[in-house]
Symmetry: C2
Subunit: 376 residues, 2 copies
């Protein structure tokens, strides 16, 4: 680690002056001519596990925008798809694995980290196997289908001395980072009192794994509503104490035979902040807002892969507040690579995924029982 690298400590990486993430790689086509500090050394080497839509359309292309992360391996149950993508991204055929050969990652010194982008029900197993193979792991959200699975994953990271991070990409991009700064700073328009966070989209193919309870663990809340829940937690910087919820699915819609379509939930935070959240597989929603005595700040879209917008309102004056544009996936991968290089803990470790999972269980319980559920 050289002197330059000191600039990349976790704190400065995420919280540089002005709240923007200065060290994150910027896709040249998006924001040219930004001077970035020199690389601290060789980028770390990643394998991506699970070559579904997310991997193909978001994660693999993101390596082009990465500074500290390089794609060197692929894991897939589809040999043709893996071969094709390996050619496209210059991955050596020696580093293509399937689910049977997965554990032999342990003997591959050219892979440092693994990005688990499998269906939710496979997160725990493939995270734990990768940790036991000596790799650090970035695991997609939701962390798993239940809190006990999350606890096993955390224990495996502890036992193996490897890092485990959950892919809460919004924590690593400047619009959400700036909204966090505003939300938590009472000097900015007073203390936050009400948060509104809504996340949803109209889901397509009824046959996809996201709509199978056994693979997804639940419906819209597990996949997209978790963004609203997580946002209410990172905007407050607190843990919720109570939750109420209501759930509904369009009857007869084949997409919602096993999992919920819509779920609205309210969270009470210790400082008195109330969060009103909504989650949907039926309608599009994409907005986080914090309301304060002297004004409000909002992201809409708040959670899209690109095109986020921030507005801040005081009385009748509403201003746009543009932030730097980064590739969310490159930013989160580089964060974990830096943590490995620096020996620091990631901002969103396994414990963060576990906390969401416990609140999600409480939300489902509240929706079923009609009673406020207290969180310990």
């Amino acid at each position: 680690m050289n002197d330059d690298d000191m600039q990349f400590s976790r704190r400065s990486f995420l919280w540089s002056a002005g709240g923007a993430m200065v060290a994150a790689p910027l896709a040249a086509a998006q924001v040219p001519h930004i001077d970035l500090p020199p690389l601290p050394g060789e980028p770390l080497r990643w394998a991506v596990v699970g070559l579904g839509r997310l991997a193909v359309f978001q994660i693999l292309p993101a390596f082009a925008a990465s500074r500290a992360s390089r794609l060197t391996g692929l894991v897939s149950g589809s040999p043709d798809k893996a071969r094709h993508l390996a050619q496209l991204y210059g991955v050596d055929a020696r580093h293509i694995y399937d689910y049977d050969s997965y554990d032999s990652l342990a003997e591959d010194p050219e892979i440092d980290l693994v990005y688990v982008a499998l269906p939710n029900s496979m997160h725990a197993e493939y995270t734990i196997r990768a940790l036991r193979a000596g790799k650090h792991v970035l695991c997609e959200k939701p962390m798993a289908n239940s809190a006990p699975e999350c606890e096993e994953m955390i224990a495996a990271a502890r036992e193996t001395g490897r890092k485990l991070m959950i892919a809460y990409r919004l924590r690593y991009e400047p619009f959400n980072v700036e909204l966090i700064r505003i939300a938590r700073d009472p000097a900015e328009m007073g203390p936050t009192r009400i948060i509104e966070a809504s996340a949803g989209f109209s889901i397509g193919d009824p046959a996809q794994w996201r709509l199978r309870k056994a693979m997804a663990g639940g419906g819209s809340l597990m996949d997209i509503g978790i963004y609203a829940l997580n946002a209410s937690r990172y905007l407050t910087g607190e843990e919720p104490t109570h939750v109420t919820a209501m759930m509904d699915s369009t009857s007869g819609d084949p997409r919602f035979a096993e999992v919920e379509e819509n779920i609205t939930f309210q969270l009470r935070y210790p400082s008195g902040i109330l969060a009103n959240c909504a989650s949907s597989y039926g309608v599009g929603m994409n907005r986080f807002r914090v309301s304060k005595p002297e004004g409000w700040a909002e992201l809409e879209p708040a959670l899209s892969y690109r095109g986020l917008r921030m507005r801040v309102g005081r009385g009748e004056v509403v201003e746009q507040r543009p932030q730097r544009v980064v590739d969310h996936f490159a930013a989160e991968m580089d964060h974990l690579s830096r943590c490995v290089l620096d020996g620091t803990e990631p901002l969103t470790p396994g414990e963060e995924g576990l906390r969401d999972m416990r609140v999600i269980a409480a939300i489902y319980e509240a929706a079923r029982s009609g009673e406020t559920v207290a969180l310990s």
Copy 2:
């Protein structure tokens, strides 16, 4: 009633082609050159009861924009203020009343209707006394401080054969009317699935009656949150079956010694629509949104006296949808004047105020108990 007047039946008045309210008076300075049908006869004659801020800054000036309503009387406990306003608006001193002489309205043939703009705790008494004096009544929201009071008011209207309308002004202005049309029409982007409605402002003077439990009946929910509740009811066209709620007030804030600051509530509607609502005396919120499978429609501001804006989004395309601008108070007063002339029932009769009051009681109960409250 002449032939022209047929155009002013309740239905055509509110629901003309395109969803805009064609017959409502338009302040000339706002929208010039709109051709309006001729008046059906002499405007009806109104007395305004209670000369607080709402009357002075909104109701009295609105008569200038009215077509079917004329100011002929004032009722106030402050003789000086009443005299001053009478001069300003050309009200004959013979038609100035105080709360002792209020019942002698019965002997004043130059007053047809009364607008009750008193503190909430006085609505029932002054509405009933006006009805018994033979006057039709427009009563401000919330209708009263409790459902039994609302029932007495409705009974008095029935007994006296006079009309009773609650001043839900948003039902009479084109932005909300158009949002209702979109929300209820499944041909517009599919059926409504989720409604978000938030209403709040940072309240000032801690000594005002709105912050006294005995006079206001409650806090932000009674005064401003009722707009969010009422919107969720008129956007669905349904009655809620279940409600959950959470409440919080900044501790030590003298404004919230007796009544609640913030209350968030969720409503379940029979068709499966979930409504996420928020109400605040601490922060500004002013937005109604309906979310549908193929898009969304939103008003923000949704409930200001002027300056409302509508946006409709489909995917990444968001369009502004301007509507005609009307004076909300002139529109609601003229609606009731027309109902009196036509012998029709107002769109927001006493029963509408009673329904909100029952839901409000359920919201408070849910917030206190932490349990879902079922509405019968």
